[in-house]
Symmetry: C2
Subunit: 425 residues, 2 copies
């Protein structure tokens, strides 16, 4: 037992009657078969992935606008209790949608917004999905939160477990960025590095879940995945509300597992169905790093399935070589008239620099990927420069310092002479 374990909180929440809000069942995305809400992620009949089925009540714009300035303003559309905002949570979401006129000018696009999810509590969009998983864990009586993570998720799980009095044990591939490792560990949970890729870590977690050692553990992105994944819908809700209850014409979304992209599509469709926004076409574009571009390759080659790859890119938060939702991403991009593109690591670094220099947003590598793809798709004429465009930044540059090519201009003595010698004026 490590010494870190001694720092665990012994407070665990008192179990009460499960309350999943408007969620009524789990439903197979392949065969449509339903089952009761529980810690299940694959269909018993066809092994397809389960997702949440809802019965929404009436929801109005005004009701949402009166809500908290966090993703809990959309609680009536999520698998969480109506009272969730009054309990201890990380309260993520409602991050800025930044009007990016200076970047737009450089790239030659009329109306550009950056959805900046580095403003979340642990500075990545993962706080959104973990917030859903925590509610599911509480509902299902799990007392330890776990996950496989490329880094951001580990920090989000650690922080949320700390605030809510759960234990945590997270699994990451060895060799992650220092910022991500420290952020995962600082909250006092266990952080286990695994010799291998993220895909190895993921496979191990599935194995552990079936072992007695994993009993009582909620793996946020395995047995709690149907709940967890719903958190990404809130990106869609927020973007639409922040645009004045309007869908964007085109949006660029990074692809790791692909879940986020498919849930943004789901979120837009729900808003239309509930009458909260006008039903108008939108195009969704996926963004990958060339060093881990299995979905973009499938797109280029016109395949329905995605061939796994071994990742080799600085964009570690997107380095999932075998993306679970790859085929669904292809569906969404095809249906909405979008596409899937990729940029190499040099363009990722350039994307980080351009976003920082024009808009004062310091993105992690995933934001460099989306900014790079935005630039590429505009140059290729695939994006309409006259259309309302949104690009996602899902993480924070402070966690991927090595990828940021920036440093001190000059070192001088504290004198005017030294300042002038250095040619700084």
């Amino acid at each position: 037992m490590s010494t870190v374990a001694a720092e665990y909180s012994t407070t665990v929440p008192t179990p009460s009657a499960p309350d999943f809000g408007p969620a009524i069942a789990l439903s197979c995305r392949e065969c449509g078969q339903r089952r009761e809400l529980g810690p299940y992620f694959a269909c018993d009949f066809c092994f397809g992935p389960l997702e949440i089925a809802y019965e929404f009540g009436a929801v109005t714009r005004e009701q949402i606008e009166r809500g908290p300035t966090s993703l809990w303003r959309y609680a009536p559309l999520l698998p969480v209790p109506a009272t969730v905002a009054s309990t201890p949570t990380m309260d993520p979401g409602f991050t800025p949608l930044v009007r990016a006129d200076r970047l737009a000018n450089e790239l030659g696009v009329r109306e550009l917004h950056v959805k900046d999810d580095s403003a979340n509590p642990t500075h990545s969009f993962k706080d959104r999905v973990v917030a859903m998983a925590v509610e599911a864990a509480r509902n299902l009586g799990f007392t330890t939160l776990s996950c496989s993570s490329t880094g951001n998720l580990a920090g989000a799980v650690g922080a949320a477990a700390a605030r809510t009095g759960l234990r945590s044990c997270v699994f990451i591939p060895a060799g992650l960025e220092e910022g991500k490792v420290v952020m995962a560990a600082i909250y006092g949970g266990k952080v286990v590095a695994i010799d291998g890729t993220y895909d190895d870590v993921n496979r191990f977690c599935s194995e552990l879940m079936g072992d007695p050692a994993g009993e009582g553990w909620g793996f946020v992105n395995v047995n709690l995945r149907p709940y967890y994944a719903e958190g990404s819908k809130t990106l869609a809700y927020e973007i639409a509300e922040q645009l004045g209850w309007r869908l964007p014409d085109q949006i660029i979304v990074p692809i790791a597992s692909g879940s986020q992209l498919t849930k943004i599509d789901k979120g837009f469709r729900e808003l239309v169905r509930l009458g909260l926004v006008e039903d108008r076409p939108y195009r969704i574009f996926g963004a990958q790093a060339t060093g881990c571009a299995p979905v973009a390759r499938a797109w280029e080659e016109g395949h329905e399935v995605v061939q796994p790859v071994k990742p080799d890119t600085i964009a570690k938060s997107l380095a999932i070589g075998n993306p679970a939702d790859g085929p669904y991403v292809l569906d969404v991009c095809r249906r909405t008239g979008g596409s899937v593109a990729h940029v190499d690591d040099t363009e990722v670094v350039a994307g980080i620099a351009q976003l920082a220099r024009t808009e004062g947003i310091f993105a992690e590598t995933a934001g460099g990927v989306t900014t790079g793809v935005l630039r590429q798709l505009l140059a290729q004429g695939e994006l309409d420069p006259e259309a309302s465009t949104v690009v996602l930044n899902t993480g924070d540059g402070l966690k991927t310092l090595n990828a940021a090519e920036a440093g001190i201009t000059a070192t001088i003595r504290p004198s005017l002479e030294s300042f002038h010698e250095a040619g700084l004026r």
Copy 2:
């Protein structure tokens, strides 16, 4: 000339008629002498520091609550145009006030909140003060933003300059944390390291300001200081609003220059004067690191003046050995019935860990200082455990990774066997 300079934006804002909102003059804090608004920071008569004098119009809670979810909701109380929220800014502020029940339980205090300013765009409270300085720079026709910085300010200036199309050149002491250096540089401005302490950097900036080389430069914490400093008032406004338009009974504030603490007091008093909160006593406590505790020493020794020290602490963001507002801090703490305390670096590290483990908030060293002082003052009986208490976290742990003692629990192979061997269950 460095290659970084080539990345400067050439867009500068068009000067228009100055508009300082409700600000009407600069007023000397020592002799009360007034002069017109401009790039002045010291009184011509007695050399005392100048601060902003206002004529506030009627302001209601409802008007503020309808405003943007940033510090611009308080624009009627700040030296900025009423229209500021519709122009490109970093839109900082309105950060979470986290109800910290788990930390409160550990420390034995009834009602504890953490004001978490790591949620600002560049993850420190400095975005607040820089937002004011940018408006002053626009009003006064400066096209380059500059500053002396212990790190956080440099990032905030760089980002704000980038978003608003200003140039920037910031000065930092050599040897700062990597996260702070990269964050200062990523936005494309110049970052100049100076061999010396922060106090040397500060002296150099004053010298540069008087030199032709500094012409057209707005030094946010020198010639724009009266405007800049007002940004800290918004911490007081937000805390009161987030407590339900109520002042806290006691608040713990870190001391670097001391400006933030005095402005929080000013903000509370303004709210009372404007009838926005009930007039009830509050106590303000200052927090320093033992390795740079000139104000705490003066407090202990009952001095009216502050003897400069040479800083030696991991809390670099508080490492100002000659704090400009030291004497005013002593005044405020005396008047409100508070005090000034200090904790050593071991307690700073422990404070960071405790805040993270109980509340999922990863603070930088300054947050370790305030958490450590909170613990100390409660243990000494100086704080009332039954009173409503607020502690400030002004920065982000990702920028001071070296101070966070946290890392991987174990490294294993991706197998259950390896998991069990490591004793991880």
